[in-house]
Symmetry: C2
Subunit: 285 residues, 2 copies
């Protein structure tokens, strides 16, 4: 690896759907290892991935971050359904000429990752679901008032971000402050900020995903690929309860709940999580 | 505690259903603490509880083991449904004049415990489900061939017991040998052996519980009491996968998977499990 995530160029690729997608590519020429494609959280763009996490993952494999259609530096309109977000992500993967990838979805990105695995299973070798929940689970219809009140406002603050992404303990808050510093290490060529239209469409998609429908839980029983489910033990946005549900619904799943952490557990525990993801992706080839 | 489980008298009580139930009672006068009633595994009787586990649990609370209707030293006929086993167990609890109890169900006993919590929630303060699975879960229709081939035969062997209740490692096998020694410490007044009729009826109930029906998974969403779900990481009889499913379906559940252990994880890790159960039952009153 010649440079860290904070120094990577913003790149653009036009897909068959006509949309120009913004992305970053750690490269690195890891022969025989599939690229790992990341799907971002609610309102996040390329700059909302913790560079420490990406650098950790990129030590052993090529990592691709991208803005889905309508998000950040990508063209197009943010759709209001997870199904369309999955189509848009599949179009990006096809444009990159990746036959098969490993997928890591975070929060709303994990919903999109599930949908991709259901719609186009052939392109997903292994799946990592971070801070995730299955479609239709009871109690998932929109974030809790204090959560959407913190991260759903027109202008969000670092304090509001910390309240959702990090736990209450001094250790977690300190980790949050350090993660925030890393997120702002890059000062040049930052990605385009996400818009209010993106926020509205994404939250519609989140609420639609959360309409309770027990029958929909059965969808995941058809997944054949190995899945790693992970969450923070104190996530107020998507409770770890739903990680157990995912692990119980998906035939080949392993699950890990990280201590004293919240929605952003993967930034707080970036070294441990990167090592766990590496172990999962490397296991059995 | 004046005596260990291996020395406890076999007692009998007649319930309103006319059945004389065999039981053992650790007593101990723990004021203000509800009795903990245990529900036994497939083909098990009073002597199939590891005395080390019962003594651990009895350090802080009164523990009751009993044979359900038709099993071991109890009169009556073993029913072939979990629903009837739950009615029979509720009749025993009523005969003991317990208004409310904590319940710990192990294997088929955990199915009965779930059914009691669904049918008569008022008598269950807290619920412990060991080596358990929800009714209707896919892949639970009868034990795997090597499992029923080991513990489902007319005459079972210690080796077959070890194969299902303990893992493959030398450490787990050694723990199994020690548990078996403890199970046979008692030489006088052992309980009546369970019959082939009990085996047949219980396995019919197990298979019926395992008929796949996704809709039935939703039953557990109504449970209001706290639940502790536990399993061994290498249980071949009821995979830990189902413990995650339970923890995802039950609103207030915690889950723990014990390392290098199988169906009998609670005997292998008796001190740790007893401490975990105590912490769960003592938490918040």
């Amino acid at each position: 690896m010649t440079e860290g995530y904070s120094e990577l160029a913003n790149e653009t690729i036009k897909a068959a759907n006509g949309i120009d997608y913004a992305y970053r590519d750690t490269g690195g020429g890891h022969e025989g290892v599939l690229p790992l494609v990341l799907l971002q959280h609610f309102r996040g763009n390329l700059d909302n991935w913790d560079p420490a996490l990406i650098d950790g993952l990129a030590a052993t494999r090529r990592v691709i971050t991208f803005d889905n259609a309508g998000v950040g530096g990508s063209a197009g309109t943010t759709p209001d359904t997870i199904e369309q977000m999955a189509r848009d992500a599949i179009a990006f993967v096809a444009a990159m000429d990746f036959g098969q990838v490993d997928l890591l979805g975070f929060s709303i990105g994990s919903f999109v990752a599930q949908q991709i695995a259901l719609t186009r299973p052939a392109i997903v070798r292994k799946l990592v679901l971070a801070s995730s929940a299955p479609q239709g689970a009871a109690g998932m219809h929109g974030w809790a008032p204090e959560v959407i009140g913190a991260v759903g406002t027109p202008h969000t603050s670092p304090e509001a971000y910390l309240d959702v992404f990090f736990a209450r303990s001094a250790v977690s808050r300190q980790a949050g402050a350090e993660a925030l510093r890393r997120l702002y290490t890059r000062t040049e060529d930052r990605d385009t900020a996400t818009t209010w239209a993106t926020r509205e469409a994404q939250y519609d998609a989140v609420c639609t995903w959360g309409i309770p429908d027990h029958a929909l839980l059965q969808r995941l029983s058809c997944l054949q690929m190995p899945v790693f489910v992970a969450n923070g033990d104190s996530d107020p946005m998507i409770l770890p309860h739903y990680s157990y549900l995912l692990a119980g619904l998906i035939p080949q799943a392993r699950v890990k709940i990280y201590p004293d952490s919240a929605h952003g557990f993967l930034f707080q525990h970036h070294a441990e999580f990167a090592a766990d993801v590496e172990a999962f992706l490397a296991d059995g080839g």
